[in-house]
Each structure stands twice: as C-alpha cells, then as structure tokens.
C-alpha cells in the first residue's frame, strides 16, 4: 500500500532519518515505536507529503508521491494526531464534515456517514454540537478519529493518538481502537512510544532509534530474537515499575 524507498531527512546538520526503506501491506496494522526523536513522526509526515525527503521517494498505491497528486493522496489517508488536532473555531460536527463539505459530497450521505461513525467510535450524539474546547480529551480523540475516517480512506495514520489521555480513558480507547481496526480492515500505521500499546494493537512492530530502523518483527521476534542489545534494553525499560515493587 505504502512503500518508502531509501528516504532520508535532515534539518541542517541534524539527521532525523537515515536512508530507510519500508513497506506497509494493505489491510495490516503496523506500529512504529521508539524513544522521542527517533524519527517515527517524521516517517508519517513524509508519507503525507507534509515534508519532502532529501533522498528517495514515497510510493502510495503504486504511484510516486508528487506535488501534483499530494492532495488526492491526502484524501485517501486519515490522519489522527495527539489530542485530535481539532479546529477550535468549528463544532465537533463541523470538524468532522469539513473536508466532505469542501469536496461537495451529498449532504444526506454526509449525514448518514456522521451517524455511522459516531456509533463506531461510541460518541454521545449531543457531543457533536459542542466546540472542541467544551469536550473531554477522550471525546476530542474520538472526534479526531471520526474526522480521519469521514471519507472512508484506505489508510489510517495515527501519531501518538492516545498520548494526551489519562490511563483509564487510554485503556478504554485502546480496546476500542483494536475493535475498529479489526472491523474496518484498513491499512493502519500507528506511532507510539509505548511497547504495550504497540504490541496490543499491532502484530507488526518497527523499532526505531536515532533515525534508523533497529528491528522489524512481531513482539515475539523482538523479545526472543533481538537484532541488537538495544531492543532488549528498550523493552525492559518499559516494564511497569509496579512489577518490580511487587
């Protein structure tokens, strides 16, 4: 579905992504994981054409990403960021339907789609008429997900979607996301720094460090066949403190 061919990116002398090649299969969920600054968010931005690679190219559905097709490609991708990235001047509903309205989709189709999606993400109906500032973090995230899914995109990119939530809401949304991923069968690329979340939501895990891929595989591969000592180190550092206290 999405292929990265030898893409790299630096800002001045600061290398954020060494030449990297990755393929993401249609219908699979993949988690990009690593400490902050490892280049995982940069990968998502490159796929959306928000930044241009210094070398290499991004191929979406067989077509190289160019300035001409970037808007069209973006319409085929749903993008969710931390805290939803909702526009504060628009109500939740206006946020969700913004792009569909701009693209002049049929109003009754839009209406139907909003109903379906709010059921899918279990959003209370009355929340739709509120402004983002009036809603809880979990509700904002659900609305961000609705906005991303509005045009039924082939691909869903999520950048630390649950990063701003408290643990209880976070666990609840993790379960719901898993259900939605399974139900929709979309190509999903999820960025997180939490190994538990990555392993819970995705079979396919890519561990990054300082702008390069350390290892790609299942949790089992990473646990039992680490490519480098760092893989084990990273996984151990994420063990809950409570385990040691008990």
């Amino acid at each position: 579905m999405i292929t990265l061919e030898n893409v790299s990116k630096s800002y001045g002398k600061q290398l954020v992504l060494a030449p990297t090649s990755l393929q993401f299969e249609r219908g699979k969920v993949c988690a990009l994981i690593g400490p902050s600054g490892c280049g995982k968010s940069t990968l998502l931005r490159l796929m959306l054409g928000l930044i241009e690679p210094d070398t290499g190219r991004v191929i979406f559905g067989g077509e190289p990403l160019t300035a001409d097709n970037v808007q069209h490609v973006r319409h085929s991708i749903g993008y969710v960021i931390q805290d939803g990235g909702l526009f504060p001047h628009l109500t939740a509903r206006e946020n969700v339907v913004l792009l569909a309205r701009f693209l002049k989709r049929n109003p009754s189709w839009i209406e139907q789609r909003v109903n379906d999606l709010s059921e899918l993400v279990r959003l209370p109906r009355n929340a739709l008429s509120h402004y983002p500032g009036e809603l809880s973090g979990g509700q904002r995230q659900r609305i961000g997900l609705m906005r991303a899914l509005m045009l039924d995109p082939q691909v869903l990119l999520l950048d630390e979607p649950l990063g701003a939530l408290d643990p209880i809401v976070r666990g609840e949304l993790q379960r719901e996301l898993k259900g939605i991923f399974t139900h929709l069968g979309k190509t999903v690329i999820l960025v997180t720094h939490d190994m538990n979340e990555a392993a819970y939501l995705a079979l396919d895990i890519v561990l990054l460090r300082e702008g390069r891929v350390v290892q790609r595989g299942t949790l089992n591969d990473l646990l039992h066949h680490p490519a480098e000592p760092y893989v084990t180190q990273f996984i151990q550092s994420q063990r809950p403190m409570t385990a040691e206290l008990l």
């Binding site: 973006r74 526009f87 628009l90 109500t91 500032g133 009036e134 906005r147």
Partner: protein, 503 residues
Amino acid sequence: MKVRALCFFLLLVAPGAFAQATLNVGSKRFTESYILGEILAQTASRAEEAKVIHKQGLGNTGILFAALQSGSIDIYPEYSGTIWFELLKKNAAGDLAALNHELAPLGLAAGVPLGFNNTYALAMRDARAALLGISGIGDMAYQPGLRLGLSQEFLNRKDGWPLLKSAYSLPFEPLGLDHGLAYEALAEGKIDVMDIYSTDAKIAKYRLRVLNDNQHVFPSYDALLLYRGDLPRRFPKSWMALEKLQGRISARQMAQMNAEAELEGRTFSAIAADFLASGTGPKPDGSASKNLLQRIFAVDFWRLTAEHLLLVFVSLGAAMVLGIPLGVCAAHVPAVRQPILSVVGVIQTLPSLALLAFLISMLGTIGVIPALIALFLYALLPIVRNTHVGIADIQPSLSEAAQSLGLPFFARLRLIEMPLASRAILGGIKTSAVINVGTATIAAFVGAGGYGERIVQGLALNDTATMLAGAIPAAALALLLQGGFELLDCWLIPGGLRAATSA
C-alpha cells in the same frame, strides 16, 4: 470587495471631472482670510453663474499658492507684499502693473485692491510701552531685556523678522509662538512684544500700542485678489461682481469684522452676508453667544459628520483590501516578511502634516484625495501586523492538521486560518479605525473637511469652544466605533474561539 472599494474611489474622484462648472475660492488659516474668502464666495455665488465652493482655511501661504497653481482653487484673498516677497521671492515691491507682469508667466493675475492695507506691525501692552518709553520699533534696541514672541510665519518670511532685525539692528532672539496664544502670553506679561496685523481685532481689547515703523521697513500689504489668469474669461459674470468689491473695505471695517468673528463668535458667513447686504456696519445677531451643545450641533454638524465618516471608512476599507493580503503574504512568504513589515512600519512614523504636504506636492491637488491616501497609509500598519501575527501564531499542529486533510492553500486560508486569526485581524481593524478618527481631524488642514474644520477654525480664532465643538464629536465618534467593533467581534469571531478564551 475590491470592486466595491473601486466604486468608492470613483465616487470620490468623479466630482473632479466636472470642475469646470465650479468656482473654487480658497482662504488661509486666519480669521481675516476666512471672512474675505466668504465675502468672495458669496459675491461670486450671487452672480448665479457657477457653483461656488469656499475651501476654508486650507493652510498657509505656500499651500494656497500651490493650490492656485494646480487649479484646486481659482481665487483667494492675498496681500500685495506677500506676493512680492514670499511668493515671487523679490527683494522690493512694485505697483500692481509690475506685479501682474511678474505673475503672467505663472498663469496667474492679481487685482481688485479691496481698500485696506493689512501690514505687519509689532505691538506691546500700552502700559508697559509707556513705562519703558517705547513708541517706535527703533526704541526697542535700547531695551535688550525685552522678550519677543513672534509667529513662526513672521519669524521665517523674508519680509518679516529678518528684514526688521537688520534694518533696526535689533539684538533679540525671539520665541516662536502661535499667533492665537501670543495675546494671552502678552496679557499675562510672559512676553513683551508680539507681531500683529494692522487690522487686528484685539488691538482695542488688549489695549495694545502699535509701534511706529519709522523706517518704513514693512512694505504695504494691500488686500487684493490673487486668481488664475483664466478666471475672468471662464466666469465673466462672477468676475464682474467680484470687481465691484474694489475699495469697498476699509481697515476699520476689516478690524471690526475680525472682532465680530474673534470676540463675538459670529460665523464667517453671517459676517460676510451682513457686509454684502449693507456695506456698512454689521448687525449683531443671536449667533454671538451659543453654548457648547449648540455649537456642536450647529447646522454644519451632519455635513462634517458625513465628511469625517467618509474619510475614516473609505481609507479603512482600502487599507483592509490591501492590508489583509499583505499580512497573509508576510505570514506565508518568509522572503517578503521583513520588507512588508518594515515599509508599513516606517510609514507610520511619518508626521501627518509632512506626509500631507508631500502628497499635495506629488499629486498636485488638495482636499479629500491626499487626505484619504494619508489615512489609508496610516491604517495599514495595525491591519498588516495583526493579520501577520494572527496567522503566524496559529498552533503548528493545527496548520498541519489542515494541510494533512488535503485542503488546497486558499481553502485552508478561508476555512481555517482566517477564522482562527479573526480576533487579531479585527483588533487591527479596530485600532486603525479609532486612530483614523483622530488623524482625520488633520485632514481639515488641507481642505478635506470633517470635524477637523472646527478645530482648525478654533485655532485660527483662538476660540476654545469652537475647537471643542470639533474635538468632542471626534472623540465621541472614536468611542462609538470602538463600541461598534466590540459588537462586531461577538458576531464575527467564531463561537468556539470565544468559548475557548472564556473557559
């Protein structure tokens, strides 16, 4: 939006296209010139040949002369000495025939001496002059402790202080003082000597002694008409009427009319009308002692309000049409950010009178157009800067969210960036509007009308009440606009943004 602004401008420019049917009378910014201008305008208009407009109190001699040469005005009352020394820059005066010989190449002519000589003079309080034994200008040289307060115009013109100083070998360093204020300063003993005109309204009131000019340094300043050479041909009937004013006004009559305006508070038009009706002594009327409220809501109130609003809103509209796109460019194109912000910033630092003077000489016209351009330029900075800041301050994550949705540039601008920046942009427009209400009062100095007309008149008459009658409505209008914009804020700023800040 742009089309509407263009229509506004056409509406403003259009009257200029019919200028041939209009006879424009000018006057300088002091009482006597206002009255004489009004007498000329009423005389010409009684000939019922042309639409006569009196552009009152346009400015000093230089501005009037420039306006006459450019055709913005056709005629104004002037003094023979001023033409010789100040306008033609000659060292000696001649007779009227010689004067016209000099003026002809400029396409101008002078004529119709009105009958009085308003020369410069120096004056002291009578009691103080008697104490010091001063009766003539020459006597001043023996009293080096005298303090002189002279008007800037008198200090700087060739036939004024420089000539006097060398002729009488005077040792003084005079203080530059507004003419209207000098009387008070003299009465309170803060200065000893001031310059006056020989038809001055206040000679009697302040018990002044006019010092003799034994050496005849001050040349004669016969009041006469300075006009465009083609005026008699273009408006023959009006001209015939104007010619009949020759020799009609004596120095005593002029001083009396000046006193009626300055001391009794009568309107220029009423004084002129009385003079033309009788040709003899004027009849006082009830207009003399109006209270402030009556002065504010005098007959010209709505005209001045309309003129003021026109100045403020047309310039503001134009500044929005240019300023908002400039602010968007500054926010989105890093290469032009500094140039744009620097240029509009520098414009803001130009003194308004200097900018107006520059625009007048560049455009060759006075009145509404240079005033609108100056106000437009002053209104740019707050709008450009606030638009830039409003857009540049949008959270990067929101800009990225808008981009990642696949919205093209102009859709992002319209749907996301402008609404998010709306509070800042409206704030800039509000600032510009309120500043413009104040700055627009300056426009009266170049004949663009508005509340400033009263302030200018009040300055010329040294009449605080008239000044207040202009300043109070301007201040009220500024407050009103401020309030209006607050309401507009509620209506235009998206609900989510207001909720976010109040939460």
